[in-house]
Structure formats: C-alpha cells, structure tokens
Subunit: 157 residues, 4 copies
C-alpha cells in the first residue's frame, strides 16, 4: 500500500501561463498542455494520498503510453487556466485520465493520457489498488481537480 | 503563392536528445515529442520551398488543433532520433501530418497533428495550395523527412 | 501611464516542481530557474498594478539582456519552491531584479536578471516611471514577492 | 578512466531554432540559451571521447553550480545558430565553460557555466583527468565546438 486513500473533492489546480509557454502567435505552444496535464495528475495523486514521488519510491512508475489533446480556443500569456481531471478509468493494465483546460467558462482544450504501472526494470504491472480505487470513485466524469469540485458516484458506478 | 514547390525526397531530421528533455525515469519526457514533431514539420515545409516563417509573413498561420502521440519504447539521453513525416493529408480545412520517431531500426513513437490554415485574426482559411500539393505528393505514407527518404507516388494515389 | 501603482507587500509566488522540470539526476534542470524568475517577475508586475501584458500593449517590451543564476542546493520533483524578488534596481537604462529560490528555510538558488525597456521596433527606452517607483520602494533587498513578505524602505533608501 | 581522449578540432554544433523556443516578442525565450549551452557541452564531451552518459555511468555527475548569459542580439524562429565553446578552465573543483552563440557573423549571446564533478551521493569530487586534459587543450579561448573550428595551444598555455 502506498498510502491511505483520501477523498478527493475540493481542490483546484490553476496555472498562470508564463511568458515561457507562449509562442510568436501569442498563444500557448501546443506541447505545454501535456505539462499542464501532468501537473493536474500529480496534484490528483497527492490529494488522493498517493503522491507520485512515493509511488516511484515504492517501485511503481507511471509512464505515459499515449497522449491526446484537442485545442479548442487559444490560451494567452498570463491567462489563469484551470486544469480538471474529469475521469479516471482502468482498462486492463492501462489507466486513462481525461482532462479539461478551461479559462473561466471557456473550454480551451480537452485531452487524455494513458499510463501503465511499470517496475523500474520496465516490466508492466497491474494497476496498483489505489488507482483502481480512484477510478471507482469517478467512473464517469465527476472527479474534478479544479473548477467546480465535486466527487459524486455516478449513476453508472 | 508562398514559394515554388520543390520535390521533397532526400533529407533527414535527426535530433540528438539533450539532457533538458530527459526526466528522472531516465527517458524523454512525453511532451517533448510534440516539439520533435514540430521540428520535422518545419523542416518539411522548408525543404518543400515554403518555410513556415514565410507562411506567417504571408498571413497564413498553421496552428495545431489536435495532437496525438503513442509512446512505444523509451528514448534516452544522447539518443539520436530520426523524425519522419510519413503522410500529409488534407481533410476539408484540416491538414493532418503523421509522424514516426525511430532510433535506428527501433520504433520509439508514432503520432499525428492536425492543423488549420488561419488568418492572423483567427479566421479559418482553406489549406493553401502548397499544402495541397504536398499532400498529393504523399497520399499514403511515403513521404519521409528522414530515415529512408523517398517520395514515391503510392498505388492508391 | 500603464496603471496605478499599488503597494507590493504581501503576496507569494510558490511553484510546485512538475515532473517536466526534473532531469535524470533527479533534480530541477538548470534552465528552468530562469522560467521561475520570469514567473515571479510577472507576478510582481501584476501585483504592482502594471501587468506585463499591459506594458506590451502600451508598447513597452522588457526583454532580458543578462541573466545569472547560482545553484546552491538541488530542488526535486514535487518540491514547493518560493520565488522571492529581493531587490529592484535601476542602473541607467537597465533594470536589475534579484531573486531567491527557497524551499522552506533552505536556500536553493539565487540570481538576477537585467532588462531594458524597448519599443516594439527594438529601440531602447528609458525605464518607465512605474519601474522607477518600484525600484524606489525596494532599494536594498526588502521587497519580497514571497516568503516573509514585507515592503520596508531601507536605511540606505 | 572514462575513455580515450580524442583531439577536438573540427566539428560544429548548429541548432535550428524551433517554434517551441520563440516567445510572443518573436525572439528566442531567454532560458533556452542554457539548453543550447548544454547541447554544445554534450557535443564537446562526446567528441572528446567522454560522452556525458558514460561519465554518469562511471559515477561522475557534472551538475551546474552557476550559469550566466548575456543577450546581445535577438535570435528568431528558424535561425540557424552556431554554439561555440570558446574555453574550458579548471578552477579548483570548478570547471568553467565559455560559450558563444552566433548566427553567421552576428554575435547573439555569450555566457558561461560552472560545474563540479559530483558523486551520485552528492559529494563534490576533484575534476576528472579528462576534463583537466580538455582544459589544457584550450586555456584561452581557442577550442571551438562550432564556427571556425580549430584547436591551437595558446601562447599563454
């Protein structure tokens, strides 16, 4: 066990866009959204009582095996963006997280990342129980790392 | 017209992985692949006779509206990666580019990015003729920015 | 005038180190500190009532002409770092800002950046009055963007 | 011994500026120069027969303890920059490298980085013999990783 599972229900990951992230079109360069996703992921795991650093120390890495992002509206320098994890789902050895990036009421981007649990030697492991529990808490778009934070068990759950 | 269309057939984009891109798992951090994709894109456009800088000066931006990456094998510090654009396809106002990242014979990652032509004011434009021509040259996975560089018209083309 | 000058006295810029910033030594890669400096700079200007975005819109750019950083202790993934601007000083056309990066009581890094005010065409301008006022407020290491925030006029002031 | 020392005399590190590195002023964001320095450093060590990856495997890390950069002229998207290491100097346990970034004949930036040899446990080591030999080869600004590549022993050497 990596830690005690906490309820994840009311916190927020906001990112102030630094000049470093804005390109000469005056908008956030597209690769940085994957960094924002990672920051939200880290925040989620910490709030859930299993900081990613502790996972690594316990011998469980969580590398990305797939990433996807849809860019809907440009974000700009100094924008305050909210990064929300709207769903965590286990599919076999894969863990998928869905993300939304918003500025106020405006949807800026959506995306997902797929991960596997992996040993330091590179062997794929089954998802750790904590991740399964996290996925059970939010089977259908109700876990929010930011925005309007609520954790409710969905009808389908 | 942004420039004269050149045949794109024998050049190579190789990237030496800097320490800056490697995380504490000892592998290339996942967001940097989108930068490698962009570098190959820039190289492709330049070799095709329409450098992206000239496109922007001519009032045509090419922002990403979608990006996707599948991570197959880890890349490490100092690896020499080849970034190949295997296909350019026009779908309505969208231009999709397919990428492969290889280290020698090893497939490291694949992915695609979708772009639209856009005016500086943010209006979506139809793809410029040069992009259409580029897509005609490589309808099915034969354009190579690196690796084994050939441009052959596919059977399906 | 870019805006009304506010007193800068009690705010804090904390940065949670993302995985993206940590290299395979397990420490924050050295270039990212310059990004942390920029984030603190942006925060300082916003809190002082002259957000950098407004400066740019008013035709005053603030490019860096020199940067310096001393790395004292490593910072690691998930560390919560405080970025403090300890001094703002005008030297002719140059504006120097001094920075401290701390983790709790531990000094992680110090540094400075020099900037000039510049027109969009690249002409060096005299520092805008707001920057002069900011420098007067903190001639000797008392302005704090984070940590123990106080703005006191120094004896030497 | 980490490897056989080769003579370093005729190679070149050129960097094509990607869109990722350019900010909304249309110039290379200041932190990326430290990445360019690192890329030149890596290239120098490899060409000298002691790739940094091998150093790490042999238990010798080379973290930066200080970095400095002077920005003279802006670099822009798609510029082809040459990164030159003009000097390597040992000062006690410190190794200083001097850098020049040029675009054709135009000096874009200069800078230096200081490093120490360190054990994985964080103990400062004396500079490895290979670094000393590298410094002897170029005591006063004659080692060039790019540009006009020559290694000549200076009069002062």
């Amino acid at each position: 066990m990596l830690g005690t599972m906490h309820e994840v229900q009311s916190f927020k990951l906001s990112v102030r866009v630094p000049y470093a992230h804005v390109d000469q079109m005056g908008v956030v360069y597209y690769a940085h959204y994957l960094v924002y996703f990672e920051m939200a992921r880290g925040e989620l795991l910490r709030k859930a009582g299993m900081p990613y650093g502790d996972m690594e120390k316990a011998g469980v890495l969580l590398p990305a095996v797939e990433a996807h992002c849809v860019y809907k509206k440009p974000a700009r320098f100094d924008d305050l963006l909210d990064i929300t994890i709207s769903r965590v789902e286990i599919r076999g050895t894969r863990v998928r997280l869905d993300y939304e990036v918003t500025r106020g009421e405006v949807m800026i981007a959506t995306g997902y990342t797929d991960h596997v649990c992996m040993s330091p030697e590179g062997r794929v492991l089954r998802p750790v129980p904590e991740l399964k529990k996290l996925a059970e808490l939010c089977p259908s778009s109700t876990l929010r790392v930011s925005g309007k934070p609520t954790v409710t068990k969905s009808a389908a759950g």
